[in-house]
Amino acid sequence: MIPVPEPAPRRTKVEIRGLQMTFRAENEVRVLENMDLDVREGEFVCILGPSGCGKSTLLNIVAGFLAPTAGTVKIDSEEVHGPDARRIFVFQERGVFPWLTVEGNIGFGLGCLPRAERERRIAHYVGLVGLQGFEKAYPQELSGGMKQRVEVARALAVDPDVLYLDEPFGALDSITRLVMRGELLRIWRAEQKTILFVTHDIEESVQLADRVVVMSARPAHIRRIVEIDLPHPRDLSSRRYLELRDGIFEEIGLAHRI
């Protein structure tokens, strides 16, 4: 029998060390405290915590929009000092540019490509997010879910290694949200991206992530990291799923005294 080789352990993509963040308003607000986290290449990590716990701040630091008070973020062993087109931040659908069409938005980061290649890529990502027929539409003519897909496609079109998603489906209705989660998983597997996904929704995190990072109350640190050892598509009524979900619920309850 030929031994099946073990898959090589995936290398570390994002390396967060000793991260601290203090906002100086009238009095100092400590938001993040001594955070360490490694994210492997191609991994889907959810950062879970209630609103105001500092998880968005964490994502903004990792993305390079905010400078931390102390500590470092390294990506591919290179320290982050600002935003970078290799790593795209997806806002809620409000980040779509209203003055550009669907095509214009998706092609926004492709200015340097020759025209034919640019059009080919736009067409590919329009198809990937299922917006054929809406290429010439303006965002105001689209629903919330469609705008969200435009923003995801705009991010994917520049072929980034990492996607940062900050509660991307928070403003959508519950059915659209379910559909979008499925789409995101499909795209993630097709395009092999590393994903950091911030959410306050326990179900969402267990449905999507390889690992769920449970944050404490402010000043935030990592309370626990839960491996979600379930294959996709996940059976949302399986015992293991419910066990993981309830375990995280309990952890969140302890952390935030719900």
Partner: protein, 258 residues
């Protein structure tokens, strides 16, 4: 729009205008005035102006002055406003001066204009320039200041900075507000050209008003000139309104899409 509503949209304003003209006519008849002209006399006045070639010449002169003054205000006001909006420190420095100069009626500048430029086209153009500058400058400044941080961040994330960020994100995001300022400024410019022509020059519709009164109390021509001023102002407003219907800026005009 249904056929009936379309008919009403034309018929009702036409009826209101006819009623007003009828009222005007009977008021002139009832009072037996020989100073204030009847509608028919005004129509004859317009025909007389057209025959002498004054109608076209004076309208053209007024429009050229507006084009020069308004054009200069646009060329200076938009870049200056964008710069002030882009650099908060510059805006803080300049704002008190802007707010002090802004409420001064352009008509109060007439003596200054005459000292600077004499009785000439330049005086009128200067007054129109001053009158249109502040609405444009302030709209551009506020427009840029009000661009959501999310658009800036998204632009930076795709590798834009400096001039590219300004032209591809900040300017289009601020454009609806800038256009609103342009529209207000054009209305003011048209009001000011009439006043300026009464004092500073020897042609144009404002000059026609004052000259018809002074040279032989031709009130039929005075009212004819007034109506011309109204009609051209209406046309200018309709033209600039069309610009805000362009699809790339329409998102910013949702409330007044009627």
């Amino acid at each position: 729009m249904t056929g009936r509503r379309r008919l009403e949209a034309i018929l009702l304003p036409a009826l209101a205008a006819a009623a007003l003209i009828a009222l005007w006519h009977s008021a002139v008849k009832a009072t037996g005035t020989n100073v204030f002209p009847s509608p028919a006399a005004v129509a004859r006045g317009v025909a007389e102006l057209a025959r002498k070639g004054l109608l076209v010449r004076y309208t053209r002169d007024s429009l050229l002055r507006v084009a020069a003054g308004y054009g200069a205000a646009l060329a200076i006001g938009i870049p200056a406003g964008i710069f002030l909006g882009w650099r908060p420190a510059a805006a803080r420095a300049a704002n008190p001066v802007i707010q002090l100069l802004r409420p001064i009626s352009p008509l109060a500048w007439i003596p200054v204009a005459i000292v600077l430029f004499g009785i000439s086209d330049m005086s009128a153009i200067f007054l129109i320039f001053l009158a249109s500058l502040f609405p444009i400058l302030v709209a551009a400044m506020n427009g840029v200041r009000g661009v959501p941080a999310m658009y800036r961040d998204a632009g930076r994330n795709f590798g834009l900075s400096g001039g590219a960020l300004l032209s591809r994100v900040i300017f289009p995001a601020a454009l609806p507000e800038i256009l609103a300022g342009l529209r207000i400024a054009l209305g003011i410019a048209w009001i000011v050209v009439v006043a300026a022509e009464m004092i500073a020059v020897n042609s144009g519709l404002g000059y026609l008003v004052i000259d018809s009164r002074n040279a032989g109390k031709r009130y039929d021509l005075v009212v004819a000139a007034m109506l011309l001023i109204g009609v051209i102002g209406l046309i200018l407003n309709l033209l600039i309104q069309r610009v805000s219907r362009l699809r790339a800026v329409q998102w910013g005009f949702r409330e007044e899409s009627a």
